[in-house]
Subunit: 342 residues, 2 copies
């Protein structure tokens, strides 16, 4: 393939893009931005065009997506068609290549015909790319919303699940992440002055509030929306956490908030470690000993890998921070380059 390649990962809440120059050895230029598709869907073509311009453009494009799951679409078929329509509007002269869950690229037309073959294939792109450097490893990508737990054995992606429902059953997809996950989806109860307290089943606080309060992320990392539309200061995050037990900052003290946040963070680590253990059990003696992690929640990935007895390796140290952070977007670009330019 001649010329630069733009790789895209179109999620329901985030958009990632990576541009690589000809050949596959160069470092990519990446862009990542929150994009709440379910609310701003009509803006997608403009966002795609603007992002491509900022990265320098390219006539070759590789696409992976999870946006089709967003609940503004009645079915995945509708979601896949919508995203591909947006590419056609944004780049009328480009025929994008869409990465499939079988590891092959398809034309947009073929992708529309069989949407379940290309829906949510981003994990496979990343893992296939990682396998080049780590032929035996568990690839752990803790994003803003979800976590991928993908085994790589003897240089090949050894995932059992292909569709998202199958991946949720196998532990290869754990639906918890560093930012957007509602606290009420993480814990049923939290400690409050030494005793368990049920939590409110409301979208009052998210994982980003927890990790900001605990100092594991900075305000600039809190790229998703806040549940209450207020700011991203530590105090505002604390107030949201207090509301999870129907309290406020007049009723709860800072160390009450810390106890709640630590409990929620531990629960996330436990849930990710549960996915890891399920994958490891299935692999038996072939199970890798090393976890290679990427994504926005590397602090969760590291803890979960250690809890499951794996030695953690940071993908950023091997392939660069930009590639690791926008793993699927960079990966599809490199994979498309390799496909025709071996």
């Amino acid at each position: 393939m001649k010329g630069p390649i733009l790789g895209w990962d179109v999620g329901g809440a985030n958009l990632k893009a990576a541009r690589i120059e000809e050949g596959s050895q160069s470092a990519p230029k990446v862009l990542e931005r929150p994009f709440p598709l379910w609310r701003e869907r009509d803006g997608l073509p403009a966002i795609l065009a603007g992002t491509a311009d900022r990265l320098g453009g390219a006539r070759n494009m590789a696409v992976t997506m999870t946006a089709e799951l967003a609940d503004c679409f009645a079915t995945k078929r509708e979601g896949v068609a919508f995203v591909l329509d947006a590419f056609r509007t944004a780049f009328p002269d480009v025929e994008p290549w869409v990465y499939g869950i079988d590891g092959r690229f398809r034309s947009a037309e073929a992708a529309r015909q069989r949407p379940h073959q290309i829906a949510a294939a981003n994990w496979r792109a990343s893992a296939t790319f990682v396998a080049r450097t780590f032929p035996d490893a568990l690839f752990l990508d803790v994003g803003s919303t979800t976590t991928d737990v993908i085994p790589i054995v003897a240089g090949r992606v050894a995932a059992r699940g292909r569709t998202d429902p199958a991946r949720l059953r196998t532990g290869e997809l754990v639906y918890t992440g560093a930012l957007r996950t509602p606290v009420c989806a993480i814990v049923r109860s939290v400690p409050l002055r030494g005793r368990p307290c049920r939590v409110a089943a409301e979208h009052f606080a998210v994982a980003a509030d927890v990790h900001l309060w605990l100092g594991r992320i900075e305000q600039d990392d809190y790229t998703c929306e806040t549940p209450d539309g207020r700011g991203r200061s530590r105090l505002e995050a604390g107030a949201r956490i207090a509301r999870m037990v129907c309290g406020d900052m007049e009723m709860l003290r800072p160390h009450d908030i810390t106890a709640i946040a630590e409990h929620a963070a531990r629960a996330q680590v436990r849930q990710i470690a549960g996915g890891i253990r399920q994958v490891m059990r299935r692999l038996g003696p072939a199970a890798p000993r090393v976890a290679v992690f990427a994504g926005q929640g590397t602090f969760l990935a590291r803890s979960a890998a250690e809890a499951a007895g794996l030695s953690p390796r940071d993908m950023a140290e091997e392939v660069g921070a930009a590639t690791a952070r926008s793993a699927p977007a960079a990966a599809v670009a490199y994979l498309l380059a390799a496909m025709v330019d071996p």
Copy 2:
């Protein structure tokens, strides 16, 4: 107190009002409507005025609220002040009486001064009212969003918790309800073709979808918003449930949806029964044998009461369906009437 009384229960998601004629023996006229305060807060005075007009108006008003917890308010103090401001705007000539968690009425001014004394006191109003008819009972009010589990012993409300955080710890408040509760706050995993499947930590489906799919509520009972903004048909509810395992109606069959829905409904019953058992354990030999239930989720209340070994009694059969359904609003009206008109 001379003349009719309007009782109000101002929630964060629902508004209930009940009008009783002079004296406390008449049947109330009640109105109940969804009102997403966090989004439409500026409309509250007009809604209050319109509701009063439709019920026939009154110069005496009794108020209880939970709206102060809504996350459009930084603190409960701010929320209480906002609601009382709305009453002043809607009814400039009325001085409302605000029911407190100690069972006493306060002026609006006193309520503003000590907002934690009147925040979320609606459960106490209902239980105090129910105690007149059932001097030994567990009062179970399963609403759209939350469940109150209030013991009545020897004619008195025997709750231990007063504030919401304390009530969440004691089992007297279980934050699950018949309509608005996100499915991701009810279950971590569901059965999918015979095996456990993790669920998406997203606001894809709510309890109303579950109970509509199972035929326990009708479309007209689905009074809250749908998570995806689509309709309330059984098929649309099913699609939302399918999305909880990242599936759609092309991937899942109707009996897959039914298995997920039944699992979620059972989990809600178990959570409510857990609250009941916690309250019963604390009371020991004084624990009541009868559960009196009210609210929109009587089908959940009945199952939970039976699971906890209590014999269920429908409050509607004793005090009328309207009073039972809008229990806190009718209760504060009757209690205010009784306060000065014994």
